[in-house]
Structures are given as C-alpha cells and as structure tokens.
C-alpha cells in the first residue's frame, strides 16, 4: 500500500500576520463593547474596563504560554483536552463554538450599525426589517464565500489591521490632545457612579472587548516559529487592546465634544457618554466618538464608519471560519461527529460545518432581532427578560461563552504545569511557586489562580445580570452535552473519561513540525534523562 502523506499547513504567517489575525478579531471588539459598557456602567465604565482588562491580561498570558508550548490548531479546546481530558475539552470547545457563532452575528450586526452612519436607511427605527435583512444578507454572504473557499488573505488582514491601528491611535491622540479634561472625568466618575448591579453588568460586557485571543492560537499551526513569535504577538495584542480600551473609556467620560450632543428620546439633554451608550448608538460608539474629536473628527467622520465596518466584517468572517476550524479539530479529536471533518469535494472546504454554524448564527440573529420586528415579542421580552434583546442579547451570550471557555483554559494551564512540566515553555507566566508534584519539580502559576478567580467572577456577573444569557448560555452547553453523550456512546468511547493519547510522542511531532528544533532537542533530552527507552522510541 502506498504511503499516504497528509498535506501539512504551510507555516507562512509572519509576526505581523499573527498579530493581525488576532487584531482583526479582538480589535473589532471595542467597536461593539464601548457603547454597551458605557450604557451599563456609566461613570464607572473605565473601572469596568480596568477590571475586565486585568482579567484579560491574565487570560492573555495563559494563552500565550499555552499557544507557545503547544502550537497546534484547536486553541483553548486543545489545551483543555490535553490538561483536563476529553469531556472538559469538549465543553471548552463547545463554549468557544458558541462564541464563534455569536461572533458571526454580533459583528455582522455592528457592521451594519457602522455602515448606517454612511447609509442611514440601514438603521431606520420605522423599518427594522431593513437592518435585519442587511445583517442576514451579510451572514449568508460570508457563509457562501467560505463554502466556495474565498476568504480574505493574511495580507488583506494585515493592511486593514495596520490602518486600524493608525486610525485608533490617531483618534485617541487627538482626542486626548484637544478635548480631554481631567476634571470632567473626575466629575463624571463621582456623579455618575452606577449601582453594583450595573457595575457587574458593565464588567461582564467589558470582557467582550477582549475576546478573540483564540485567533492567535488558532493560527499557531501556520505561524513561523510559533514558540518564539506567538509570545510577542500575543503580548503586543494584549497591550495594544488594553491601551485602547482604557483610553477610549476614559476619553468618553472626560471628553468635551466638538458638537452639540442631540437631546434624548424624552427631549432631555445628555452627555457624550450617555449619547454613545444609548440603545440607538451603542452599536457604533467608536465612530460617533471619533466624530466628536475637534478638527480630526471632520476627517474621522468620513472614514471611521467604513474602516470600522470592514474590521467588523473581517471579525464576523473570522467567526465563520473559526467555528468550522474548531469543529474540524474537535471532530479530529473524536469530540464531535466526523461529519464536521467532511470536506466538500468540489470546493475543498468544510461546507457542512460552515453551513451548520452559520445556521446557528442566523437563529441567534432571529432571537436578537425579534423584539424589534414583532411588538408581541417585544412585550414577551419586556415581561421576562427586562426588554433585553438586540445587540445586548448577543453581548450576553458572547460574554457567557468567553467566560466559560476561559475559565477552563486557566484550569488547563494549572493542570498542564503540574502534569506536563517537561514540555519546554519558551514563555512562562511570571510569579510562580516552585513545588514538587509526583516527584517532579513544578512551578505553580499564581496568576493562573488569580485569573481563574477573575474570569469566574465575570461568569457569575454574567449569570446574575443577563436575563437571557443565564438561560441561553447553559442551554447551549446542555445541547452540546447531549450531542457529546450520544456520539461517544455510539462510538464506544468513554463519556467522562478520555480516549488514550500518547502526548509525549505528539509533543515531539508538534515541536518538530513547528520548526522549533532546539526546543525539541531540549524536550527529548528531558525525556531521555527520565525514560531513555521511551525518548529514543518517540524520536
């Protein structure tokens, strides 16, 4: 029988390519998150961002260490499966899948909101169907393009990311230079401090401004020298996004707008941050804020809505291919049925996966848009879910999915530090406690514990404060659990246990394929020192 060689992914993603993969996903979050957080946390929006930002730094460091140590496609799901076993790996992957499908809908929705700055008819409150049809059309279009195998190139991502970095830095630079008043910030914070409930709500929304680090891990298998490059791109991404999120929230609270802010629906005067955070504007807050920067705003008004819409569309698209990629990786690891591995013969794309997850995205869109389309549904939502719907509903689920998967990633980080101390870690999270575990010297990650507590608190905030999220999120997990149990039983695989894996052999292959030959040598030497026979055989 002839040798069958599995084609390998080409490692062509450069440091900027890796950064822009993450940036085109995470960078778009602030376009959605800013308005939501301002609407919820009011004068403490910057505090909500700071709290979520600290948790995000911990998440980022955990992802950086894990993606550099295990540079394979699969990201969080793979780390959890390796650290905590198949079942929890499935739960983490399933939660990430929820995030990716929400990603598709949420960013397509916000993309239309930003475009409405240029084409106002898209956000006409008298004809909400136009908005719905536009979002539906974008999702269907992205689905079709991905089934056909057409997607934006890394170069396109890189160019859009570069333009956006320049644009956002300029908005913030000129905003702080021309319009920031520290005394106004202090005044807003002291007079508009929210209730504890709203602060928790704001913090849970703030975390969605930082979702998407997964993309860097997803691209790890295609990144040149991932163990060396990924720590840098991840840390740069973490810092850049954190700087933007903190700067935007402080600027929004302490900025004197260039123009008169319109009256609210009741005819009352409103401040800049109230205007940005209201239901009509929270989907396009960055574009509106940019417009209010003196002088620069005249230029920003022309291009920020377009640039924002492009970045949001890329982010929406990353949800489409991200969900199919992770479903493929999960099917490969026997966590999902093999239908998700099926590649269409004609287009050579995982068409079944793409169509399945885009359909789920459309269902989410229907639930989000329903109250605006049908007065009966609006009354139902008002009665049971405090009138929550639209972008808020999508934000709920996004926060739930992210908080769930990130919680497991922290546990996986701790478990892998204890159970797999030999895998070389080119980047290691600082602040560790040296200890001995099962005869091995290990470093217990203190930040992993703090991060877990932080993200768990955000998960609790999400469950406490989001009426729809606390039902829809767990319902998604229960649905996944049923699929998992049925599939594993049919295949004769353990449900709560794990299928056998030779992680050591796999780790050598991972490092060899990644071109990290020095790390591979280091790993083999460690193995040899402990189990000479096994190391020789593995190599």
């Amino acid at each position: 029988m002839p040798d069958q060689h599995q084609p390998e992914l080409k490692r062509s993603v450069t440091p900027w390519g890796s950064f822009s993969w993450g940036y085109s996903d995470v960078g778009a979050d602030i376009f959605v998150g800013l308005g939501l957080v301002l609407g919820a946390a009011a004068g403490a929006s910057n505090v909500a961002f700071l709290f979520a930002g600290i948790v995000y730094v911990c998440i980022g460091l955990a992802y950086t260490e894990l993606a550099a140590t295990y540079p394979v496609a699969g990201g969080g799901q793979y780390f959890v499966m390796r650290g905590l076993g198949d079942f929890l790996g499935f739960i983490a992957g399933w939660a990430v899948l929820l995030d990716f499908t929400i990603d598709v809908t949420l960013f397509a929705w916000s993309c239309v909101d930003y475009l409405s700055e240029v084409v106002p008819v898209l956000l006409n409150p008298i004809h909400p169907w136009i908005h719905f049809i536009a979002v539906f059309g974008l999702i269907a279009g992205l689905c079709l393009l991905n089934v056909l195998g057409v997607r934006e190139s890394t170069t396109f991502n890189g160019v859009v990311s570069a333009l956006d970095v320049i644009s956002e830095t300029s908005i913030l630079f000129f905003g702080f230079l021309f319009a920031f008043r520290p005394e106004l910030l202090v005044h807003t914070m002291t007079t508009q401090w929210p209730s504890t409930f709203n602060l928790m709500l704001g913090a849970s929304y703030a975390i969605i401004s930082f979702v998407g680090l997964e993309s860097i891990s997803q691209a790890a298998q295609e990144t040149q020298r991932p163990a060396s490059v990924i720590p840098r791109t991840s840390i740069a991404l973490i810092l850049t996004i954190l700087i933007y999120a903190l700067a935007y929230s402080n600027l929004a609270l302490g900025m004197v707008p260039w123009h008169q802010i319109p009256l609210d629906a009741m005819g009352h005067a409103q401040t800049l941050w109230q205007w940005l955070g209201n239901n009509n504007n929270n989907g396009k807050a960055v574009a509106l804020l940019a417009k209010e920067v003196p002088y620069f705003g005249a230029l920003a008004a022309l291009y920020v809505p377009i640039l924002g819409a492009i970045l949001l569309l890329i982010s929406s698209n990353s949800g489409v291919f991200g969900s199919s990629r992770i479903a493929y990786a999960m099917a490969n690891a026997k966590l999902l049925p093999s239908i998700f591995q099926r590649v269409n013969r004609r287009f050579r794309t995982p068409a079944v996966s793409i169509i399945a997850f885009c359909t789920i995205a459309v269902v989410e869109l229907i639930f989000a848009a329903w109250p605006s389309l049908d007065p009966g549904a609006a009354a139902f939502y008002a009665k049971f879910f405090h009138g929550e719907g639209g972008i808020g509903f999508l934000g709920d689920l996004y926060a739930f999915g992210a908080a769930t998967s990130y919680s497991f990633v922290f546990l996986a980080l701790i478990a892998l530090r204890m159970n797999d101390p030999l895998s070389p870690r080119k980047f290691r999270i600082p602040f560790n406690i040296p200890m001995t575990y099962k005869g091995e010297r290990v470093l217990f990650p203190v930040i992993g514990v703090l991060g877990f507590i932080g993200i768990l608190s955000i998960l609790v905030f999400t469950i406490l404060t989001h009426d729809l999220g606390r039902i829809a999120g767990p319902a998604w997990l229960i649905l996944g659990f049923i699929i998992f149990v049925v599939y594993r039983r049919n295949k004769g695989l353990p449900v709560f246990g794990s299928a056998p894996h030779d992680w050591r052999h796999e780790q050598i292959g991972i490092l060899r394929d990644a071109g990290e030959l020095e790390l591979m040598d280091e790993y083999v030497a460690c193995l040899k020192a402990r189990e000479p026979a096994h190391a020789a055989e593995a190599r």
């Binding site: 950064f19 230079l177 008043r181 520290p182 850049t240």
Partner: protein, 207 residues
Amino acid sequence: MIAIDPVGAVIAVALVVAVVATLWWMLHPPISKVQEIARDAESELERMVGSIIVVFAENIASQHMMALAAKLAKGERSELLAIYVVSVPYSLPPDAEMTDEERRALDALGAAQAIAAKADINLRTETVKARSTKQAVLDIAKRERANLIVLGSFREGKYTGAPLSRTIEEIAAEAKCDVLIGVEGKHGNLLVDQVGFEQFEQGEKAP
C-alpha cells in the same frame, strides 16, 4: 479656539509612544539558530557575488555557467565580467595574432552577451592573451577585486576521467576569492553544442 490640557497632552503622547514601542518590540523577535545560519549564508552570498567573473578559454566551456551567473547577478545586482583567455604558446611572441582563437573568443563572448541581454543585465566582456590561462584569470580577478570566479567544464576531464583539469584546480587553489565550477554531469551534452568545440570533438575521435 481649543485649549489643550497638559494632562491630556501627556496622555496623548504617552499613548502613541506605548503603541509604537509595543509594535516595534513585537516585530523584532529573537532569531533561532537555524535562522542565524540562514542569515549568515545570505550575507555571505551578498559578499560572494558582489563582482563576478565568468571565464572562457579554448577548453573551458562556460555558457551554461554564464546563464547561472547572469541569474545570480540579476538577483544580487552584481557586476558581471566575461573574459575569454587566448592562450599564446611560448613558441610565439606574446602579441602574436591568433586568428582562429580570437574568432572563437568573439563567438563565446557574443553568446555571453546574448545570455546577459536575455537576463536583462549589463555585461562587460574582455579578450585576454596570455601564456597561462590560470595566471591570466588570477590577475584579472585581482585587478577587478572579484568576489567570485565562475568556470564551466574543462574539456580535459572528459577523456582523462578526472573531474577537474590542472588549470581549474590551480585557479581554485590560488584564487583569493570564491570559485564556482560547473562540471558537466554524466549525461550532459553541453560541450557537444558549444561554439568552437566541434573541431575539438572531431580531433578527439580521430585515431
């Protein structure tokens, strides 16, 4: 008129510095051992091909190596010189007319020009009369401060079975720069088609 608040100005500048510094740091990751080797090899290549001399002589057929040198020179923007060495025997004065040889030199250098034109690079050519091919090549390499001497197959190798001739071995041993020698493979037929070698081929077959 907009009044600039000093705190706002400081934050604005700090923000730009922080973003630029972060991205600069990200784009300059440490290089691995393998990359270091590749980088050294690259810079070595740049040094190696700064100025290239392609050598032709009665028994040195370098057309195929000329094509290679032209591609190298184009990629690395090197200076390229093709020389034809006319060997003058001791039985003749140094400036003796070597009509047939000089005619063959014109053909060989004309072909070299055609190869260079096809590769879209500038080529200087020169015909040199000398007692010793080796010495002529080494002198010109010194004069031109050449980084690389390129030589094709030497006819002698074909019937002696030796891979290189004495002339080529001496050039390789004594040159102060790198020498690239293209030895024709087992099934090569370049020599048969080379300008000026048909006669030699016939001479070899003669009893």
